[in-house]
């Protein structure tokens, strides 16, 4: 087990190295001269040339890469072309709203979706199953910005229970945070509930057809215990995969919802950077996002072993 954890963790290094190489190449190979962009439209060719020199763009490409990697290994993602602040600081200031809202979304999704999916599988083919399935198709097909505006209309504009938009850090009071975060999280939750409930239902239905479920009935085990103890635990691995990748997707920034609710998260940071061709920020964001995916996948793989003793690497 320990050998597996070490091996799996070490495997992160080559993956991230390849990501870094690709990120570097994409930006060097795309048309357009960063120096010209920074210098601005009114710059003279001499100004652009001196800018190129200053940015090290005249060096051979492998030296540029080594230089960039060297910085990266020291944890320095560079400086934003747009604002002049360091990319590290930019990300650090924007990651927390995204992280908190992602966590809230995942917790709410699991708490709603797993029971719904379980009921659907248990009452397979009956009314409650159909209702759950309809809810999840609807939740999946309505775009997030529509759901978001509907929620704002009902809970903020009409009922005036919650603020229309904005974000408050939990450090300033958890209640205030929740009041601001609940609508965006709920908006995201609709899609994730749909996905997770479907997966729970499908996986559990599969398991309920297994021989050991029949054995449990033959032992005289009660219905809820058959469902939860024998069923759900065996169905956990696919559910865990969906929840895990869902979390990674949420963390890499949810642009639409952050825009609708005016949340200063990394989704909006990325969009702003792309619009302004702020290359160092874009690079930093791609690296961050890939890193999150790799780490979440590692966490999912390790979590499998908690549910299924047969998975020992």
């Amino acid at each position: 087990m320990l050998a597996y954890i070490i091996k799996r963790t070490l495997a992160v290094i080559p993956v991230m190295a390849i990501v870094a190489l690709i990120v570097f190449l994409i930006l060097r190979l795309t048309p357009g001269d960063p120096a010209a962009i920074i210098a601005g439209d009114s710059a003279t060719p001499e100004q652009i040339a001196s800018m190129r020199e200053a940015m090290g763009l005249n060096e051979p490409i492998y030296l540029q890469f080594l230089h960039w990697i060297g910085q990266l290994l020291q944890g320095d993602l560079g400086t934003s072309l747009l604002s002049g602040t360091s990319v590290n600081a930019l990300i650090a200031s924007r990651i927390w709203p995204t992280l908190y809202i992602a966590l809230l979304t995942i917790v709410m999704s699991v708490l709603i979706a797993v029971p719904l999916g379980t009921i659907a599988a248990w009452r397979h083919g009956r009314l409650s199953d159909h209702i759950v399935m309809i809810i999840s198709v609807a939740g999946f097909s309505v775009p997030a910005f529509v759901v978001g505006y509907i929620f704002i209309k009902i809970f903020a504009a009409d009922l005036r229970w919650l603020p229309v938009q904005g974000y408050k850090d939990p450090a300033l009071g958890f209640g205030e945070f929740l009041r601001h975060a609940i609508l965006p999280a709920l908006t995201l939750t609709t899609a994730y509930v749909a996905l997770t409930a479907r997966m729970t239902r499908a996986s559990l239905l599969n398991v309920l057809g297994e021989d050991y479920i029949r054995t449990a009935h033959a032992k005289g085990v009660s219905e809820p215990r058959v469902l939860l103890q024998h069923g759900l635990r065996n169905a956990a691995v696919p559910i865990l995969t969906v929840v895990g990748t869902g979390f990674a997707m949420l963390l890499s920034g949810v642009v639409v919802v952050e825009s609708v609710f005016n949340i200063p998260g990394i989704g909006r940071l990325t969009i702003d950077a792309v619009m302004a061709r702020d290359y160092p920020v874009i690079q930093g964001m791609i690296l961050l996002t890939s890193g999150i995916y790799v780490l979440v996948n590692l966490a999912i793989d390790l979590a499998y072993t908690l549910f299924d003793p047969r998975i020992r690497y």
Partner: protein, 558 residues
Amino acid sequence: MERFKTGRFDGVADVIAIENLHIGLQTMAGQTPVLDGVSLKIRKGETACLVGESGSGKSLTSLAVMGLLPSGVLKVTSGRIMLGETDLLTRSKRQMRALRGSRISMIFQEPMTALNPVIRVGNQILEVLRSHGLASGKEAKRRVLDIMDQVHLPDVERIYRSYPHQLSGGQRQRIMIAMALILEPTLLIADEPTTALDVTTQKQILALISELQRKHGTAVLFITHDMGVVSEIADTVHVMRHGQIVESAPAQVLFRQPRHEYTRALLKAVPSLHPRSPRPEVSAPAALKVAGLGKTYASGGFLKARSEKRAAEDVTFQLMPGRTLGIVGESGSGKTTVARCVMRLVEPTNGAIRLGSLDIAHLPQGRLRDQRAKIQIVFQDPYRSLNPRRKIGQSLIEGPTNFGVAPEKALARARELMEIVGLSADALDSYPHQFSGGQRQRIAIARAVAMEPDVIVADEAVSALDVSVQDQVLKLLDDLQQKLGIAILFITHDLRVAAQICDYVIVMQHGKVVEHGTAEAVLVAPKHPYTRSLIDAAPGRGWDFGACREIAWPAAVS
């Protein structure tokens, strides 16, 4: 000693009495019932065997007793199931749940899938006590360890904490039995409990069930399709067909003087352990020559000790055209590994595999492809070996067209083949699910023959089939061999089947060949102790079922 059990049950109280039980499909009222007036009773300490082919209704009968018929699909339309003084059919769901596991319990065929893979086996046994609100804490654990001891599990403290995949097939079935018997039920239903086990393990499990039965006076309803097993354990035999019981009799009566025609047919289909009469030696060059074949699986490596598993070691044999060589052995003996190496479905580690004059053991894929037509395989499970989304015709001509035969020509040949294997040519336009298991296996054989191979590898090709169908498929293979001169490499765990079809037999154990010779020499006068123990464990080995009499074995074996 008597050949069959001769227990007397006159005047002994009934434990269970099924009276005129009818079960029908819930959605199609008025249709022919799936269970049509079944009546049987089992008395204290009696073993009743329910035999019949798949689809005859044996398992349905047992599920009805357990109250576990699939709800919404099947329902009891009339009849009574009396457990002592109570009619189980009038009990509520809650009352039935309380009876299951305590007064009636059940063990199933496949001990791997019947145990929950993510719960420690000790806790799975403990759950029976907990579900019935009996015993908790230390006392409960003591009872679990006690029953584990009674089913003769070694090192019970360790096994208590094990997961099912850490145990052997026999140990898992012992866990199932412990689970079923911990509350000392009056009725134990055993649904094919030894079918998935090796013969030597089967023997131990059967002995264990009768030992515990004697100790507690349990009534046992034993469902099986294996007449050999029936002859060893049954007091009373009930033969089922199409949802009806066609004959019920004490074992000794049924085996000596079967009355019903169907019973006789069923007994006749049981392959005899007596080998086929030898055929003349073939002087032609061998179709397949395997020399020093070995396959080693390596695992570990990084931060872990490297370990090697020798699945097959130094296997040598030759297969003559028009003859059949059997490889027999228990699970894990390496027989399937050998078959897969010969097919080059796995890469052999060392040795030579000469197909005709060419050694294909290490041939690169490009050149191997040309040889593939010469050697074809028929797999065990015909339900999974045919692509469900392709018509039979498509499956059949795919191979020949890959080798450049024109599709029309291949299709014409496929039509002929369908007739040869005893199906109609229309079958080519149908999908696999429209056929029974036996028909599918015929199709799988036709698919292999379509390639006009020199060698066919049959990997447990009849093991998933009912005995009567098994008999027909073996005959088909034999006919094809005589017509086309194909050499057959026949992999099986079943000595009876091997005796019917093989000219030569090799016996494998732990990846090595322990005995090699003509079927007669190996099965009638085995030299290696392992071969002897295999033959010894074959249930009903001394009885010729078709002829209803003892087999006269040469003195050397008995």
